[in-house]
């Protein structure tokens, strides 16, 4: 059962261990079933790699993020501008507000979370009340339907003792995932590389 690290990508077992494994592999009938020693096919390896990358990319909270109060603060500020007040209908007023606030990094999120003028009217006072408090960061508040509520995140504490309540793009959940992935790939690598090299294939139905 000795280990060798001369060519770790081929096998991690020394010659005597490989020979024993080969003899057992060919000589043993497991209820009439046999197994081959084929390598994990390259497309499968690529698919696994792609899955790992995709797993992180699609779960980053860039997608599916709830809108924050900060997202709509510019909309609220635009509500009292003369060109908005001059609009003949709510729809036209909303179109003007959206047009006025285009060209920022929040564009994509605003498209995903559109509002009507009625929504804005309900949010306006709540957002203004928060803006009146100097210790409040609007990004710590989430807009849920017609209510502005403290966001359900528990980040680090600020110097003033309040907690950061903003969704980070990376959190300790992802760090734990990296730990699991490292343990998994190391474990599977060690297990499969202890087998005889893939150039060797067992002869089934031979001398046994």
């Amino acid at each position: 059962m000795a280990w060798t690290f001369k060519s770790p990508l081929i096998t991690l077992s020394d010659q005597s261990t490989v020979s024993k494994a080969e003899t057992l592999w060919e000589g043993e009938m497991l209820g009439g079933l046999t197994e081959d020693n084929n390598p994990i096919p390259k497309p499968v390896v690529w698919l696994v790699f792609l899955t790992v990358c995709t797993a992180f990319c699609v779960t980053f909270p860039l997608w599916g993020q709830r809108p924050t109060a900060a997202l709509y603060a510019p909309y609220v500020a635009s509500m009292d501008k003369p060109e908005v007040l001059a609009a003949k209908s709510d729809e036209e007023a909303m179109r003007r507000i959206v047009a006025m606030n285009k060209g920022t990094s929040a564009d994509a999120q605003l498209v995903r979370h559109p509002l009507t003028m009625d929504d804005l009217r309900l949010l306006k006072d709540q957002i203004k009340a928060l803006q009146a408090r100097p210790d409040v960061d609007l990004k710590d508040y989430t807009v849920v339907g017609q209510k502005v509520v403290i966001a359900n995140f528990e980040g680090n504490y600020r110097a003033d003792g309040t907690r950061i309540r903003q969704q980070p793009w990376w959190d300790k959940g992802y760090t734990i995932d990296l730990f699991y992935l490292t343990a998994f790939f190391t474990g599977v690598f060690l297990v499969v590389k202890r087998l005889p090299p893939t150039e060797w294939q067992p002869r089934h139905g031979g001398d046994h």
């Binding site: 057992l24 592999w25 043993e28 009938m29 497991l30 209820g31 009439g32 079933l33 046999t34 197994e35 081959d36 020693n37 084929n38 390598p39 994990i40 096919p41 497309p43 499968v44 698919l47 696994v48 899955t51 790992v52 995709t54 797993a55 992180f56 699609v58 779960t59 909270p61 997608w63 599916g64 993020q65 359900n152 995140f153 528990e154 969704q167 959190d171 300790k172 959940g173 992802y174 734990i176 995932d177 699991y180 992935l181 343990a183 998994f184 474990g187 599977v188 297990v191 499969v192 087998l195 893939t198 067992p202 089934h204």
Partner: protein
């Protein structure tokens, strides 16, 4: 069966417990899908048997779910373990007597459990609906004896190595006990709130991830090489599959609660692991399909291979759905809709059922040494199951998307109900087709026992020509 319960172990014919588990599984499948079709009829036609509390949807839903999971699926697994585990170790089952008692106590426990559920005594937690005394019974008298028989048979094997299927059987029968004990902690200790919610979904997720999925796959690792005569394509992919199940499938319970006030980092962790469920799926499907090389004619000609490969192919949409529907970006839309019901049926009635059916067909014919009574009835069973399941899955997926749209755009609930109605009728038709197919199956297997052509020693049932 009863005469063997008090016989000496040596006096009990080999394979007896597998036969009784197998027939119990089929009977529970008929009952479970019958209840499912009945429940579906109540959603399609709300006035059907209206006003009777005992047959109201709220009482009957859990009975259907648990009859199928613990009656059909788990007893078919037990059947497969009772004959495959010793076969792969070139030995006998450690104790046929324990197996028979296990089967007897399983039927008793399940009957009592379903009766109390039917009477309205429930924990109120989805999938772990059984009250605490039934949970303890299941752990001690259903899961533990099964595990002991499997582990002791593997320990007493007459081979040096352990074939891939038996890794899965040994690990899954151990994990089933752990899942039952830990997952039902809220029941024993009155845990409430988020702890209760998390453990409820830890249980539900792991019953799927550490019991149903790995055991179904393990059965396919036996059935395909056994019937085709091909070696399993890659022992290495078996390792990749097994360890990825252990690492990635056991962890994402929180992805069932993406909108709950759990810590966001826990959701991030669970969501990545949720996508990584694709790793065991890729490993399993590739290994089975590569093992089929040169024998694809059997996909058409052989019933067991057709059932197994269909189940393996259904693992592809199952895991594509499962991997992505739990991400934040998609979950907000489909959560709490019929999409999830469709997905659950894809897992239990599609992926795993097709492979279990193959194991029961193969096992009963092999142990009873009788060829299937009627291949025509077998084919009817296959097509009824496949068409019925597909109609169910597609209709519920569409209904789920309608519900999701209704939820997001705040459409009045009754309008969503009206829009869904045609799909509820389709669901009932699909479910009824599955039920009818299973009635045909029960008849076919009963007749196989009574008048099936005898298979000579050393031959496989499918190698013989039909006499009728």
């Amino acid at each position: 069966m009863f005469k063997y319960l008090f016989s000496k172990n040596e006096a009990i014919p080999a394979g007896s417990s597998a036969v009784y588990f197998g027939f119990s599984a089929i009977v529970w499948f008929v009952i479970g899908t019958g209840l499912g079709a009945f429940n579906a009829s109540k959603l399609a036609f709300p006035d059907f048997v209206h006003g009777l509390e005992f047959v109201s949807f709220g009482h009957m839903r859990q009975v259907h779910v648990h009859a199928v999971i613990f009656g059909w699926i788990s007893m078919a697994f037990a059947m497969a373990m009772m004959y495959i585990t010793p076969a792969l170790g070139n030995t006998k089952l450690w104790s046929e007597k324990l197996g028979l008692w296990n089967c007897f106590l399983w039927n008793i426990g399940l009957s009592v459990g379903l009766t109390v559920l039917w009477a309205g005594m429930t924990s109120g937690r989805e999938y772990s609906d059984f009250p605490w005394f039934i949970d303890i019974y299941i752990s001690l008298f259903m899961a533990l004896p099964l595990g002991v028989n499997v582990w002791m048979t593997i320990i007493n094997r007459r081979t040096q190595g352990i074939y891939t299927t038996n890794w899965f059987f040994a690990a899954a029968s151990f994990m089933l006990i752990i899942v039952f004990i830990v997952g039902n902690l809220p029941e024993y200790f009155h845990l409430t709130g988020l702890t209760e919610a998390y453990l409820t979904w830890w249980f539900a997720h792991n019953i799927l991830g550490l019991w149903i999925t790995p055991v179904a796959a393990a059965i396919a690792y036996y059935t395909i090489p056994k019937v085709t005569g091909n070696p399993l394509y890659s022992h290495r992919i078996g390792h990749l599959h097994f360890w990825s199940i252990v690492v990635f499938y056991s962890t994402p319970a929180a992805h069932h609660l993406m909108s709950a006030p759990l810590p966001e980092w826990l959701k991030s962790f669970a969501s990545v692991e949720g996508v990584l469920i694709l790793v065991p799926a890729i490993a399993f499907v590739s290994n089975i399909l590569m093992t089929m090389e040169g024998k694809w004619n059997m996909f058409v000609e052989n019933l067991e291979v057709r059932f197994t490969v269909t189940g393996a192919l259904l693992a592809i949409p199952l895991n594509m759905q499962g991997g992505f529907q739990q991400t934040r970006a998609i979950n907000w839309y489909i959560h709490g809709t019929g999409w999830i019901v469709a997905h659950a049926h894809l897992a239990l009635l599609g992926f795993s059922t097709f492979m279990e059916v193959a194991a029961v067909y193969l096992g009963l014919q092999t142990i009873l040494k009788r060829k299937l009574y009627s291949i025509t009835l077998g084919n009817i069973h296959y097509w009824f199951l496949l068409i019925g399941f597909t109609v169910y899955w597609v209709s519920m997926t569409i209904a789920g998307l309608i519900q999701g749209a209704g939820k997001i755009y705040e459409v009045p609930y009754i309008d969503v109900v009206i829009a869904e109605h045609p799909y509820m009728i389709a669901r009932w038709l699909g479910g009824s087709l599955v039920f009818l197919g299973n009635c045909v199956w029960l008849y076919n297997m009963w007749m196989t026992t009574r008048v099936g052509t005898l298979v000579p020693k050393g031959r496989m049932p499918h190698e013989l020509a039909y006499e009728r």
